[in-house]
Symmetry: D3
Subunit: 181 residues, 6 copies
């Protein structure tokens, strides 16, 4: 194993095939993996329809279904902090120690370089960002088009249980937020 | 009376005829009424020009003018919470107990169903959302068009006292917020 | 009338006879009265057992019982702000405009003098602070002694409805707060 | 199994034998278990020496060592909320859905009864609160007395790695907090 | 000298020639000058690329280079407050006392008039807002056009040291913020 | 010079001779000095009587009086963060870059070692902590004893101007805080 513990972070609205591919890659290279569920305090808004708890449930179910070794995985909700300059320090206070960050995002790599150049940044091998990204998937759901091929079956299952499609459609509407009434 | 205490929530920027009609309907169906002034921490921004205190004053004046029984009314400012999943619980901590929510907003109904299915949701009888909504009224004021027919005379009176039209016009401008300087 | 609108602030844990006497005094000297329920975000802790909503309900019931003119009263919950230097400005953003503050607290008078010397400060005529103060009343309740003579009957009624004595006794215990578990 | 998913919450400063016994009891009665690490935003203070991430690591290691089925466990850090009246709603937004709460704390039981009477509250079978509680263990560590018999060996191991005893001793000192300098 | 102490506020992303001209004007009219660095908690986002500390360093270097008397200057970072109605009171709690505000912004003047009519508002003599404004300068940098003539050389120097152009370009990209991943 | 820029942090309630001695020592060893005024959001409470702005004014006046080179000094208010694990990262976002920390506090040294072992920690040469500490000085003032010999004359001057002794005496009283009323 190359690393003791890798970390990947995202909002996972919802957790999709790209996320799962990255988790598998990290589990192949690291003894353990931390998955940080960001924006944990947000939910029931257009950009963040699902609660942190629902997202944890999705990820757990998807990893189990994919036969990932759950005993090596940590799924950790973390609320946002306005102050990006202390992003890595805040992350470190909420997650078990990690020595690699998995991200295909150029800005994440930049932040890591600025805040701790000694930390490894690993890029995703599987990339299909065009299709496999949360905002595209939410748009597909909102407009009633095909989307289930983009997420692990277990995630589609969780969404069905909580009637996630209904929620996403409602939140796409103009007045769907207490502060807009 | 159908209900012990109804609750209606809004930002009331400003309190308009649609709001007043809903308050009257609630007072006809409930022994008492709570009016929650949302986004209470915001003011002097384009979307939220008036302070919570000014909005409380508008509502009080409008209810009095309309001969509503003020001894049965509670007007309660409540700051926003980012976490919508605890919206109803937060509301309950700030307002006297209520057994019905008055709202024409589909999303509010959805949130109530998710967070407490036993709570009644009552829809407004009077609906003229096209004209009677805060953002339209602020736009009319900002552009110097007719708007007074859309609000109770007492609200127009409060706006005149605090020169609300001037404030709305200023806030419509591009640099009108400390964080934009 | 000496003043347009008076304001009195407190935590009202619970609202007692001293508070009611002050409200009556203010209503005799002012056209209208604002009662600010402070520390509105706290509840179910030893020092703040009751929610803002429960306290609003107590005050409303007590004023009604005492035949105060409720159409002249505003009861406004306001969360604390750590920054005392902007205390008055924050208060003004949440309450309708006021030109007198009612308080027997020397420090409140000091803050008002520092933050707006033009604002009138009115002292309570009725003073029985030894007995009539929230922390004493909570201690009496917690230890099962006589306390009902210190609060308006309507407040005792609200406490009975929500079984306030049980709550106060529980909160007096050592581990009664999520952060202590 | 009696329950789909149980939840136990604590600050786990540190995770001790009482906590582990409760986790085992819950895993015997529930298909899955959520362990909520409270006060997640605090660390490096006397009452909360360890970061949320360090506590997650302790719990994970202790469960693994005790041969608990980690694939059925969720370890979730949650920051405190000042507003206890929305405690359960906040918890539900951060954790996967649960139908039982495990706690020996009378106040927790009271909060659950107030906020959702339909939720089961399960009491710990093993009770040795006198010895097995965080504040006692921290005091033993601070004063250099025996404490390792009170925590799972794996927790003692994590504490050794991060030199937790040194940290606890330092934090027991008078000036150990930025706001005290 | 007309005033004891002037104050000018801005986000200074980055500090440009218009800002410097205003500082010089204020130093010519006041014994001392406070420069408030607003939105101090933000950084590494498109609108606010630089940390408060970096902005303090820019301003200090620019004033020194322009032979302003630094012994008369205070450079004070202040985080935003959502509640604009207490903006002036909040400012006063963070800065040494001042008797004049320097601003060309109509809204600032309006806020000062509302919150303390006795405070002097001084307008900038030098005005070249079209070119000399932060968002234009950031756009020039992001697109690789000429921008150095719009800022004091010392500011260009600080930007070079921290490779500010790279940061601005990165932040102009679509996914450059933790909450967008 | 040994260091490019040193940093010392404190609450400075008030700034005393020990603080001034440390500032002089740092200015002898560093090209520039940052003085961080912590707990910047607190004021008008017993432990934190003075606003951040008043403390900035005290420090500025004391440094000038002591003929320190003010053009090399930065005085920066910083609000507290509950999360100590990101203390250094937060500090770095608010202050110009520094390569040494001046502190006689063992815990500060510990935090720096944990969060960035490469940062130098410099200890104060002058130590008279028994007498020269904020809480002792506030106690002397509150009880009307001698205290002026413990602070720079300029600080005594600022305190006289704002009648700091009166404020400290008032705040020492039992009910001196909005949340206590």
């Amino acid at each position: 194993m190359k690393y003791e513990r890798g970390l990947m972070a995202g909002r996972f609205q919802p957790f999709h095939n790209g996320h799962l591919a990255l988790a598998k890659q990290a589990l192949a290279e690291c003894k353990e993996l931390v998955i940080v569920v960001g924006s944990a305090q947000f939910n029931f808004i257009e950009k963040d329809p699902f609660t942190a708890g629902e997202r944890v449930a999705m990820i757990h179910a998807a990893l189990r279904e994919a036969s990932c070794d759950l005993t090596k995985c940590f799924i950790i909700p973390v609320p946002n902090d306005e102050n990006n300059a202390r992003w890595l320090a805040g992350l470190r206070s909420q997650a078990p120690a990690f020595d690699a960050i998995y991200s295909g995002n150029e800005f994440v790599e930049y932040l890591v370089r600025e805040q701790d150049p000694s930390l490894a940044v690993r890029k995703p091998k599987f990339v299909s960002r065009q299709e496999c990204n949360g905002s595209n998937i939410r748009a597909l759901i909102a407009s009633g088009r095909q989307w289930k091929h983009l997420v692990p079956p277990a995630v589609a299952g969780v969404l069905e249980e909580i009637d996630g499609a209904k929620r996403i459609k409602m939140l796409a509407g103009a007045d769907a937020a207490p502060h807009r009434w």
